[in-house]
């Protein structure tokens, strides 16, 4: 079973040379720590920076330089700042090659819900609806089950949707799955996790192509 850093590490393997990548708040942010050697990628944060770097050293924080999670950051050489319309032009116009974001629920057809629990939690969608409606390549990073132990991989989302049929891949603490043929197509198991455990934790239709599902190499 993976921890949050393990999920991030596995997703980092999906990065390809030349990718512009948008990382959501939470686990996705950690992906930046595991960029494979020898490839060039740049991180976009939708509040208005390309070429986002690591957190500043203590004392170097700049209130005017933050990421979409409102955290103080730094800029890499070759960075650029821009306004929010230009930022979402990059996103909507498919100039960002990969979006990694968290979710509360994923449905087997690729629907995603991550912005609202009616009557209880309404934080807003931020840039998530633009991101999921636009990106060609969306990976969801999340725990397989919620705090109450319920599966987050469902036949149908119960919460208000963020986007329709848009998720391509899900990486959880238990497995890597692709959305295929209206199901969660099992691609890899987390280290030490059995197929049965994944089946048990998945409420939606899990497609298991044979008994030899490889274990992740991370």
């Amino acid at each position: 079973m993976l921890d949050k850093n393990g999920i991030a590490k596995r997703i980092a393997q999906e990065l390809q040379h030349g990718y512009y990548v948008n990382l959501g708040i939470g686990i996705p942010t950690l992906v930046a720590n595991y960029i494979p050697e020898g490839i060039e990628v740049e991180f976009q944060s939708e509040n208005g920076i390309l070429g986002m770097g690591p957190f500043p050293e203590e004392g170097d924080e700049d209130a005017d330089l933050i990421n979409a999670g409102k955290q103080t950051i730094t800029a890499m050489p070759g960075a650029a700042y821009f306004d929010s319309a230009t930022s979402f032009a990059m996103i909507r116009g498919r100039h960002v090659q990969l979006t990694v974001l968290g979710a509360m629920e994923i449905a087997q057809n690729g629907d995603i819900a991550n912005w609202k629990i009616p009557g209880r939690m309404v934080k807003g969608m931020g840039g998530a609806m633009d991101l999921v409606a636009s990106a060609e390549n969306i990976i969801v990073a999340m725990m397989h089950t919620n705090k109450r132990g319920e599966s987050k991989l469902l036949e149908k989302c119960s919460l208000p949707l963020t986007g329709v049929g848009c998720v391509k891949k899900v990486v959880t603490n238990l497995a890597v799955m692709e959305i295929r043929d209206n199901g969660f197509y099992l691609v890899e198991r987390a280290p030490g996790v059995s197929i049965d455990e994944i089946v048990d934790a998945t409420d939606g239709r899990l497609i298991v192509p044979g008994d030899n599902i490889p274990e992740m190499e991370i």
Binding site: S45, E46, N47, G48, I49, P54, F55, P56, E57, E58, G59, D60, E61, D62, A63, D64, L65, I66, N67, G69, K70, Q71, T72, I73, A75, Y81, F82, D83, S84, A85, S87, F88, I91, R92, K116, G119, R120, V122, K123, G124, M125, G126, G127, A128, M129, D130, A133, S134, P160, L161, T162, G163, V164
Partner: protein, 234 residues
């Protein structure tokens, strides 16, 4: 021959803002927010405001100050997750809230300023945001029609400005500010530094002065940091 937009202070800048009006306020989180003008709105006590702003501040800073005084009737935002008082007022029904995808919010502000009454975007299709909006397919993909978002006053914060209203923003404090500057019937710009006319390089200006009606230098800036994240010194 440049047109002079300079006003003496925040009181003069905010003249004419009245209860019931629609205001746009620049900033993302607490980054790039018009601190001086928000303080003045609190002082003026205008209420029943509709505020268009990506976020709603935190409990004791930014738009949170207007929420505390119940000066806001309706918020049009994309993300309001950092504010308990906001959540309380919203869930209790005291506060009307219209949540909009961040990119649509930005583009709708720009559209208002650019004389584009409506445009199609894929964001929000198949979600609550779609509502009764028109849906149309382009290249086999569904899009919804979004309309321009206007305001009686737009209030923005810049790093540097000149008397002609030209503005330069700093780093990610730019965010919604240039777009809202375009969209206000009257646009107020507060700047950290008001420089003499001709000092800004015309090639480096982010918001040309034509979009700004009033400009003043803010008295002081707290520039509070919402999430102070650092790494140890190397």
């Amino acid at each position: 021959m440049a047109i002079n937009k300079k006003v003496a202070n925040v009181e003069e800048a905010c003249k004419g803002i009245k209860s019931g009006m629609t205001l746009m306020l620049g900033g993302f989180g607490l980054c790039g927010i018009p601190e001086n003008s928000i303080a003045e709105l609190v002082k003026m006590g205008v209420n029943e405001l509709t505020c268009i702003s990506n976020n709603a501040g935190v409990d004791d800073f930014g738009l949170g100050l207007l929420l505390q005084g119940k000066q806001i009737k309706k918020m049009i935002s994309s993300y309001v997750g950092e504010n308990d008082e906001f959540e309380r007022q919203m869930l209790s029904g005291e506060l009307e809230v219209d949540l909009i995808p961040q990119g649509s919010l930005a583009e709708r502000c720009r559209a208002a300023g650019a004389g584009i009454p409506a445009f199609f975007t894929p964001a929000g299709y198949g979600t609550e945001v779609q509502g009764r909006k028109e849906v149309r397919m382009f290249k086999g993909k569904p899009h919804i029609l979004e309309t321009a978002l206007e305001a009686d006053f737009a209030i923005v914060k810049a790093w540097k400005g000149d008397s002609s209203g030209n503005l330069i923003f700093k780093a990610t404090a730019k965010n919604f500010n240039p777009l809202m500057a375009m969209a206000g019937k009257i646009t107020i710009a507060e700047v950290e530094e008001l420089v003499p006319l001709g000092e800004l390089d015309p090639n480096e200006i982010h918001t040309p002065g034509i979009f700004v009606q009033r400009v003043f230098q803010g008295a002081k800036y707290e520039k509070r940091i919402e999430q102070r994240t650092t790494q140890p010194k190397a």
